[in-house]
C-alpha cells in the first residue's frame, strides 16, 4: 500500500532504515534546492526548506497509506517526498519549468500531484487546511477507507480557519488528521510571542479531536503517534498531531535569521532527526555503516540528477499563460492584446 520508498527490510529495523532513507532524501533534496537558488536557476527566492523537520515528514508520511490524501503549507517539499513525490518534477517546478508538476505555474509553494493524493501546497498560512475536511466528507460519502491529512506550521495555529476546520471534523466525525509541524518559528516570531501557550493538543482536545504531541527528532515516535491517530481517524475519530522540531535555516532563502542567537541555533540544530536515526541504526538496529553510506550516496546521486534535470528542462511556452484558468473545453480568458487589437479595429 505504501507509496514511499521501498522497504529495506522487515520489522522495526527495516522501518527505521526506511525512515532514515526518506529523511536523507529530503535533506539532500533541500540542499539542492538551496544550490539551485544560489545558481540563480530557481524561480524566485520564496523557497522554504524543511531541513531539520524531516522527522515530521518521514514519520507521518510513512504512517499514511496509498490513497490517503494531504495538503501542505509552503514548507512542504519534505512531506511530498515522503509521500512519493518525484524529485525531478518537483525540482523542475521549483525552477519554473514546463516539466514541473504544475508546468511551472505553481512553483515551490504550490506543488501538487493528484495521482499521489497531494491536494496541494499552499502559500496562504492555513489556506489548505479546510480542504481536508472536504476530502473527509468525500471519503465518508463515497465509502472509501481513506484519511486526509493537513500539514501546517505552528504559525497556522493562530489562523481561525484551523478551528473552523477542527470543529467540523469533530462534529461530523471525519477521517481527518491535522498535523502541526512546530518548528518553533513563524518567520521571525518565536511561538512564545505568537501564542500564550504552546500546549496546542489541549486546543485540539477542546474541539473534540484525539490529540498527541511528539518530539520530531524521534522519527520512530512520530511514526507511532501518527499511526495511532490515523487509525483513529479512519474510524471516525479525527486527530491532531503536534510534531516539534527546529527550523535549521532561515525562513526563506533571503532570511539569515538575525532574530535568533547563535547559541540557540546551535542547540536547535543538534535536534537532528537524521543524525539521531543514524546513531540508532548503527547502535540499536545494528545496521552497517556502509549500508547507511550507500543510502546517503544514492540520495546525493538522485538529487543531483533532479537538479540537473530542472536546470536543463525547457521553460513553459508563452501560450501556457492562458491555459488552465478553466477546463480545456471551456472558454478561455481573452488575452489583453486581442482586446486591444479588437478595439483598434485591427482584428
Amino acid at each position: 500500500m505504501d507509496q514511499g520508498p521501498s522497504r529495506a527490510g522487515q520489522g522495526r529495523s527495516g522501518l527505521a532504515l526506511d525512515l532514515y532513507r526518506t529523511m536523507r532524501r529530503i535533506r539532500t533534496f533541500e540542499e539542492r534546492v538551496a544550490e539551485l537558488f544560489v545558481r540563480q536557476q530557481s524561480a524566485g527566492s520564496m523557497l522554504h526548506l524543511s531541513i531539520g523537520e524531516e522527522g515530521a515528514a518521514a514519520g507521518v508520511g510513512r504512517a499514511m497509506v496509498e490513497g490517503d490524501s494531504f495538503t501542505t503549507h509552503h514548507r512542504g517539499h519534505g512531506v511530498f517526498l515522503a509521500r512519493g513525490g518525484d524529485p525531478n518534477r518537483m525540482m523542475a517546478e521549483i525552477a519554473g519549468k514546463a516539466a514541473g508538476y504544475c508546468g511551472g505555474k505553481g512553483g515551490s509553494m504550490h506543488i501538487a500531484d493528484m495521482a499521489l493524493g497531494h491536494l496541494g501546497a499552499n502559500a496562504i498560512v492555513g489556506g489548505g487546511i479546510p480542504a481536508v475536511v472536504g476530502a473527509g466528507l468525500s471519503y465518508r460519502r463515497l465509502r472509501r477507507p481513506q484519511v486526509s491529512v493537513a500539514f501546517f506550521g505552528d504559525g497556522a495555529m493562530q489562523q481561525g480557519i484551523l478551528y473552523e476546520s477542527m470543529n467540523m471534523a469533530a462534529l461530523w466525525r471525519l477521517p481527518v488528521l491535522f498535523v502541526c509541524i512546530n518548528n518553533q518559528y513563524g518567520m521571525g516570531t518565536h511561538i512564545d510571542r505568537a501564542s500564550a501557550s504552546a500546549a496546542w493538543d489541549e486546543r485540539a482536545r477542546s474541539f473534540g479531536l484525539a490529540a498527541a504531541m511528539v518530539d520530531g527528532e524521534d522519527t520512530l515516535a512520530v511514526y507511532d503517534a501518527a499511526s495511532a491517530l490515523l487509525a483513529g481517524a479512519r474510524d471516525g475519530i479525527p486527530g491532531y498531531l503536534g510534531v516539534s522540531c527546529y527550523r535549521f535555516h532561515g525562513h526563506a532563502r533571503m532570511d539569515k535569521s538575525p532574530y535568533r542567537d547563535a547559541a540557540e541555533e546551535e542547540a536547535g540544530r543538534r535536534r537532528d532527526p537524521i543524525a539521531r536515526m543514524a546513531n540508532r541504526l548503527r547502535g540499536e538496529f545494528e545496521v552497517a555503516g556502509a549500508e547507511i553510506e550507500m543510502v546517503d550516496a544514492a540520495a546525493a546521486a538522485e538529487m543531483d540528477t533532479a537538479m540537473t534535470f530542472a536546470i536543463q528542462a525547457p521553460l513553459p511556452e508563452p501560450a501556457a499563460m492562458f491555459t488552465d484558468v478553466f477546463a480545456p473545453d471551456q472558454p478561455a480568458p481573452r488575452p489583453v492584446a486581442d482586446r486591444i487589437a479588437a478595439a483598434l479595429g485591427e482584428s
Binding site: 490524501s69 495538503t71 514541473g100 508538476y101 504544475c102 508546468g103 511551472g104 505555474k105 505553481g106 504550490h110 501538487a112 500531484d113 493528484m114 491536494l119 496541494g120 499552499n122 496562504i124 489556506g127 489548505g128 487546511i129 479546510p130 480542504a131 481536508v132 475536511v133 472536504g134 476530502a135 473527509g136 466528507l137 468525500s138 471519503y139 465518508r140 460519502r141 463515497l142 486526509s148 481561525g160 480557519i161 473552523e164 476546520s165 470543529n167 467540523m168 462534529l171 461530523w172 491555459t323 488552465d324 484558468v325 478553466f326 477546463a327 480545456p328 473545453d329 471551456q330 472558454p331 480568458p333 482586446r339 479588437a342 478595439a343
Partner: protein, 324 residues
C-alpha cells in the same frame, strides 16, 4: 408551467441531485430549516443528511470544505446565507477555488457552485443587502451567474452544476417570490450567452438579475413616450457575452448599464468600458451607468429604496439620453 424563482432553484437542485449523486449541499440552515429563504426545503428529507449538510456558522470553513470535496469526487453546492458574508470566505473563494486549476498546472479542477443571495429590499442594512458580484468578476478562474428570471434560475443552476469549474451563483432575494414560466426542457439561451429580453431601436439597456425587470418596466414606460428601448439580460457575468451587447449597441447607438452593485468599480464599469471599446464608432451618446449609490446600504426603507436604480430612474435617464 408557472412557478417561482425560489421553486425553480429548488427544482434545479432536486433534478440535478437526482441525476448526479455527487452533488452535495453544504451550508448554514440548508437542511432542517430548508434554507434561510426556503430554497432547499424538502431536499434533506429527500436526499438524506449525507447529501444535505447543515454546517456550523463557519463561512471560510464551509467554502474551504467544499473546495476539498470538489477535488476528491463530490460536486458540492456551498451556500452563503447572504453574499455579504463572502468577505469571511474570500480567501477560500479567490485564492483557493479560483486558482487551484491554474496553480496546479491543470491537474484538477474545482467543480463547485457557491450560491448566495444579494440585493436590497428588506431593510437588512449595510451587511445584509450588498451586491458584491464585482469582486467575483475581477477574479480569474471563477464563473459568475446572476439569473433574473424563473427560467434562468432553473437552467443556469443546472448548467452550473455540469461545469468543471467553480461557479459563483448569485440569486436576488427580492426575486424569490417572483413568478414566471418554466420549461425544464428548454433553456432561453445557452450558458454564457446574453439574451435580448425586449427589442428596441433607440437605446440599449444592459442589465442582469433584478435590474432586468426594472429595465423592462422602464422600457414599457418609454414605449408610451415613443421611445423604443432594447433590453439585454446578461445572465452570466463570466462568461460575459459582449457580442450580444455590442451588436445591440451598434444598432441603437446608445447604452445604459443598470446594476445593483455600487457604482464605482462595479460590474457596470467593465461593461461600459467594453462597450466603448467595441462600439466606439457607433455611439451617439456616452454610455451611462445606473448603479447603487457609493454608500453602505442604509436601513431606513425610503433611503434603502433610493440607493439603487429603479424603473423610474432608468426610464428617466434613457429619456434624457435619447432627447439630448
Amino acid at each position: 408551467m408557472e412557478t417561482t424563482y425560489r421553486e425553480a432553484l429548488r427544482q434545479a437542485l432536486d433534478d440535478a441531485m437526482t441525476a448526479d449523486s455527487a452533488i452535495t449541499l453544504l451550508g448554514e440552515e440548508v437542511g432542517r430549516y430548508g434554507g434561510a429563504y426556503g430554497v432547499t426545503k424538502g431536499l434533506l428529507e429527500k436526499f438524506g443528511k449525507e447529501r444535505v449538510i447543515d454546517a456550523p456558522i463557519s463561512e471560510a470553513g464551509i467554502v474551504g470544505a467544499a473546495v476539498g470535496a470538489a477535488m476528491t469526487g463530490l460536486r458540492p453546492v456551498a451556500e452563503l446565507m447572504y453574499v455579504d458574508f463572502i468577505g469571511l470566505a474570500m480567501d477560500q473563494v479567490a485564492n483557493q477555488a479560483a486558482k487551484i486549476r491554474y496553480m496546479f498546472g491543470g491537474q484538477i479542477g474545482v467543480p463547485m457552485v457557491l450560491r448566495a443571495p444579494c440585493g436590497t429590499g428588506r431593510s437588512g442594512g449595510a451587511q445584509h443587502s450588498q451586491s458584491l458580484e464585482a469582486w467575483i468578476l475581477h477574479m480569474p478562474g471563477l464563473r459568475l451567474a446572476m439569473p433574473g428570471t424563473v427560467s434562468d434560475a432553473y437552467h443556469l443552476l443546472r448548467a452550473a452544476l455540469r461545469l468543471p469549474d467553480p461557479v459563483v451563483f448569485i440569486e436576488h432575494k427580492a426575486l424569490y417570490v417572483r413568478k414566471g414560466e418554466l420549461d425544464t426542457q428548454r433553456m432561453d439561451a445557452p450558458w454564457g450567452r446574453a439574451i435580448m429580453r425586449r427589442g428596441g431601436r433607440d437605446a440599449t439597456i444592459v442589465a442582469y438579475s433584478r435590474m432586468v425587470h426594472r429595465a423592462l418596466e422602464a422600457a414599457e414606460a418609454l414605449a408610451a413616450d415613443g421611445i423604443s428601448a432594447e433590453v439585454i439580460d446578461l445572465r452570466t457575468l463570466n462568461p460575459l457575452d459582449m457580442e450580444t451587447v455590442s451588436a445591440s449597441v451598434a444598432r441603437t447607438g446608445r447604452a445604459l448599464v443598470a446594476s445593483e452593485g455600487h457604482l464605482t468599480g462595479g460590474a457596470a464599469a467593465e461593461i461600459a468600458a467594453q462597450i466603448q471599446e467595441a462600439c466606439f464608432d457607433w455611439l451617439e451618446e456616452p454610455i451611462l451607468r445606473l448603479a447603487a449609490e457609493d454608500v453602505p446600504v442604509p436601513v431606513s426603507p425610503a433611503l434603502e429604496a433610493a440607493s439603487v436604480p429603479t424603473a423610474e430612474s432608468i426610464a428617466r435617464t434613457v429619456r434624457r439620453m435619447v432627447h439630448r
